[in-house]
């Protein structure tokens, strides 16, 4: 029994149609579809952008783990983006022949396009330091911004955040901090004076690890989707969404942990034994913190409390990609701009062709791809919604009307979050939105 097949509607539907503002979208979800309409162009756009997203993501997850596990509490981490060879070559657990649960048919090593880009950048071969200072590199700052969104919003579900306040965690962190600064009386003295500050840094590093482990999974998922699309395996947007749903379930049980390597010894700050799972402690908090909430970008909203532009209730934050106005793409201080710039380097040719035919052709690719990215993230969110429904509620072709009503209530609650004017759900329903 698959969780998302379209039900056979040979008899009259068991429950009356929805009266929600987004009834059309809800009915589509109930039929096994996505929030994004099922058109060939939508499919092409989202697969193309998934592939363009996965290449820098390949770097993000590796560097996030590098920072969480190796750079750790370095007080002057000027070279934290200069990933070590070991981590650049760290095999992805879900790709390559060595993988126990192989998602991507390709290599477990870094994607060749990524390596080529790290070599040349947009310009040409230069010493790495020059590439770094000139920002002609993968914009790791975006990954850190996502991490900080998760870190700041804290309790977005799962047990991760509560554990960070527990005594066990504090004991683990204390051991690691003392080991890291062994022989450094200055830092140990500072630690004795300000233990909470160091602890907070370790918590942040735990979120680095969390996000790194999350994206380690997503990169091969997106690569595999691109490969399947290339060979014609997806018949439409729902197929792509189903692949994501299955992927989410398959990896749901992956452990989330934080191991630090100091002088060759492994310190388990968050051991695997704590039972933290990829689904509950990484994916769902990530979606909530980064897709829905994030934080207002400086320069676009006044942070002045008297101006009342930023909601005082954190749950009301609506600055994630699902609500984003793509106009500021290209402006400074907007972290997603960094991601758009990264994705620009790895667009597949068929996607570039689409962009050449609309709006400003070559000149505004950043905005066009930003909007494509928004569509694709609505698709990912739909997959998460369908996966949650599959895990916590009933199959779409259930015969019990109470069950279907429970499904309906669940979908409507999810759609309620898009009632606010900034939501782009209505915009993505048409192809004109470019």
């Amino acid at each position: 029994m698959s969780t998302t097949t379209a039900p056979e509607r040979t008899k009259a539907p068991l429950i009356p149609p929805s009266t929600h503002r987004y009834a059309d979208v809800i009915h589509r979800l109930e039929a096994g579809g996505s929030m994004l309409p099922d058109t060939p162009e939508n499919l092409t756009q989202i697969i193309g952008i998934y592939k363009a997203y996965a290449v820098p993501m390949d770097f993000y997850w590796r560097d996030l783990l590098y920072i969480a596990e190796r750079v750790f509490l370095n007080p002057l981490p000027a070279f934290k983006y200069f990933i070590s060879k070991e981590y650049l070559e760290r095999p992805n657990s879900y790709a390559g022949d060595q993988s126990p649960l192989r998602i991507w048919r390709g290599t477990e090593k870094a994607h060749p396009e990524l390596l080529a880009f790290m070599e040349r950048g947009e310009t040409r071969r230069l010493p790495k330091l020059l590439h770094h200072l000139w920002h002609d590199r993968v914009n790791m700052e975006f990954a850190e911004a996502c991490m900080q969104a998760m870190f700041w919003h804290q309790g977005m579900g799962g047990r991760f955040n509560d554990y960070l306040e527990s005594d066990a965690y504090k004991a683990n962190a204390d051991r690691a901090i003392k080991a890291y600064f062994k022989g450094n009386p200055l830092m140990l003295g500072l630690y004795a004076l300000f233990p909470e500050m160091f602890l907070e840094q370790v918590r942040q590093l735990s979120y680095y690890a969390n996000l790194g482990l999350f994206w380690e999974v997503m990169a091969p998922v997106f690569f595999e989707m691109s490969d399947i699309y290339d060979e014609g395996g997806f018949k439409g947007v729902p197929d792509a969404m189903d692949f994501l749903v299955n992927g989410i379930f398959a990896v749901a049980g992956r452990p989330i942990y934080h191991h630090v390597f100091i002088d060759g010894e492994c310190f388990e700050i968050i051991p695997k034994n704590e039972g933290f799972t990829w689904l509950y402690e990484a994916a769902l908090p990530y979606v909530e913190a980064v897709f829905y909430r994030t934080s207002p970008f400086r320069g676009t909203k006044s942070y002045n409390a008297q101006a009342g532009q930023v909601p005082s209730d954190q749950a009301d934050f609506h600055y994630g990609i699902l609500y984003a106005d793509v106009y500021p793409v290209g402006s400074a201080g907007i972290p997603p701009t960094l991601l758009m710039q990264d994705m620009l380097h790895f667009l597949p040719p068929y996607l570039k062709e689409i962009y050449k035919q609309h709006r400003r052709r070559d000149e505004d690719e950043l905005v066009q791809l930003g909007i494509t990215f928004q569509r694709s993230m609505y698709n990912v969110t739909s997959a998460v919604i369908q996966a949650l429904r599959g895990a916590l509620l009933y199959p779409l072709d259930d015969n019990d009307s109470n069950h279907l009503q429970a499904n309906r209530a669940f979908f409507e609650a999810k759609m309620d979050r898009f009632l606010r004017p900034e939501a782009r759900l209505l915009d993505i329903q048409t192809q004109d939105y470019r």
Partner: protein
């Protein structure tokens, strides 16, 4: 010969335009060649100053074809030719009825050149009036929604201006003992009494006050400038209004100096009022062309102040302001026209975020920033040089009006910043941002004008070099209070007190 060519080149080309097929690209090219040819002739005239030309035309009326170039008219001739060339380039390629359009443009140019080159007052009046018809037709046929009203109002006011000027000139001849032959040389050496000069000056002030314009004779200007098509507005604001200043220099200061000195405090006051009025109104505007029109009105107030002060420095400031403001206003209208062509509107509330590098008009807005800064008198650009000369030169004569004008200059910054803030910065509405970006052909006039504005800012002689020698003898009061202190440091306290 150069002078005749200057005057008749556009005539010949304009007459030749109807012979070309309407869709031919040569129509536009011919007009451009005429303008650039004039510019080249102007440069030739600068290097090899031609002798005055005097041809008999209608001796019964005293109308002679007296043409000449001196330090006052040469910069204006160059400005006129340059702006005409830029105007041709700023005209859209898809201009409707191109032959008529370019012919009328060249016709306006002929009138302007005639006015600047004339050394005979009747010839001047003839050329002055000649400008009216093509300009009115240009506004009436290709203007904005309210073009009919704008054209009529423009025609009415400026016809009155022409008639008043004609009356003044004729009165010259009637009042002067022994009559005049209307040549400038004669008019400069008349024997009118102060009372008679007052009468004439009143007429002259009304005539050129309408042209500049100044408050309260400005009623035609905001409407006409905002309804005129972009190229026409560039020409009107850039050159035609300068004709008013030129006229006041000639007919007021040069020919009626005694009356001018008598009334100059009033004239300065009017200038100050005009400046403040223009600036304050510009702040209130919600439409870009009207804003630029009122800005122009304000800057003409500075001109009038400098003319009133009539110190050598302020008269240099007059010529500098004529050139600087001519370039800046033409640039502003050109850029506003670009915005209009691309986005379809010039209403400020409807525009926002045009600086967006991806989907906005970053080039146009970048140049607009420079143009607005120039208009506000930011150092580094021609506007600053001109305003500095004007204020420094007028301060010794009329400190209070100068202070008022300085205040108005401060207000310029207000509306410049507000305009740019609203239109350039802010959020670009992605749903509406469907326009194409500007191509290089459309950018050329704006680029050339901006370059010249910058050159004028860092090399002030560019603005005053040609006219310094001509304006100095016209001064009616010296900058004495300024120059003495500047020349030699006092060595005894008695010299300080003296």
């Amino acid at each position: 010969m150069t002078l005749l060519l200057l005057l008749f080149l556009p005539v010949v080309v304009a007459c030749g335009l109807p012979l070309l097929p309407a869709e031919s690209p040569w129509v536009r090219r011919a007009a451009l060649v005429a303008a650039l040819g004039q510019l080249a002739l102007g440069v030739v005239a600068w290097r090899h100053p031609p002798a005055d030309l005097s041809l008999s035309w209608l001796p019964q009326l005293g109308l002679r074809l007296d043409l000449g170039l001196d330090g006052l008219s040469l910069p204006l001739v160059l400005l006129g030719a340059l702006i005409t060339a830029m105007v041709v380039l700023a005209t859209p390629l898809a201009q409707s009825r191109p032959r008529l359009f370019y012919a009328l443009m060249l016709g306006t140019n002929v009138g302007l050149m005639g006015s600047f080159l004339a050394r005979n007052a009747l010839l001047f009046v003839l050329a002055y009036e000649l400008i009216l018809i093509p300009t009115t037709l240009l506004v009436a046929i290709w203007g904005g929604e309210r073009r009919a009203g704008a054209a009529i109002r423009f025609l009415t006011y400026n016809a009155v201006s022409g008639l008043t000027l004609l009356a003044a000139v004729l009165a010259f001849g009637w009042l002067n003992p022994g009559g005049v032959d209307f040549s400038f040389g004669d008019l400069a050496h008349h024997n009118l009494t102060l009372q008679q000069q007052h009468w004439l000056l009143a007429l002259v002030l009304v005539a050129f006050g309408i042209k500049l314009p100044v408050v309260p004779l400005h009623g035609w200007q905001p409407l006409t400038y905002s309804q005129a098509p972009t190229p026409v507005a560039m020409l009107l604001g850039g050159v035609v209004s300068k004709l008013g200043a030129y006229g006041l220099l000639r007919f007021g200061i040069q020919f009626l100096p005694d009356a001018w000195s008598d009334w100059s405090s009033w004239i300065a006051a009017i200038g100050a009022v005009s400046a403040i009025y223009g600036a304050l109104n510009a702040i209130a505007q919600l439409e870009m062309r009207r804003l630029v029109a009122y800005s122009s009105l304000g800057h003409m107030g500075f001109l009038l102040l400098a003319l009133a002060a009539a110190t050598p420095l302020s008269l240099q400031g007059v010529m500098a302001q004529i050139l600087a403001h001519g370039l800046i206003i033409a640039l502003l209208f050109c850029l506003v026209g670009l915005v209009d062509t691309k986005t379809g509107t010039t209403e400020i509330p409807e525009l926002s975020g045009l600086l967006n590098a991806q989907r906005g008009l970053p080039f146009t807005m970048g140049l607009m920033l420079l143009a607005l800064m120039a208009a506000a008198g930011v150092p580094g650009q021609a506007g600053f040089v001109a305003e500095l000369l004007v204020f420094q030169g007028s301060w010794v004569a009329y400190p209070i009006p100068t202070l008022v004008c300085l205040l108005s200059s401060g207000f310029t910054a207000v509306y410049a910043v507000r305009l740019f803030n609203r239109v350039g910065f802010g959020r670009l509405d992605n749903a509406k941002a469907n326009w194409a970006s500007t191509n290089w052909g459309e950018r050329v006039p704006a680029l050339v004008l901006t370059a010249l504005v910058l050159v004028g800012g860092i090399w002030p002689t560019f603005l005053t070099g040609l006219s310094e020698d001509a304006t100095a003898p016209l001064a009616l009061r010296s900058s004495a209070a300024v120059t003495v202190i500047a020349m030699a440091p006092p060595t005894t306290t008695s010299e300080l007190i003296a």
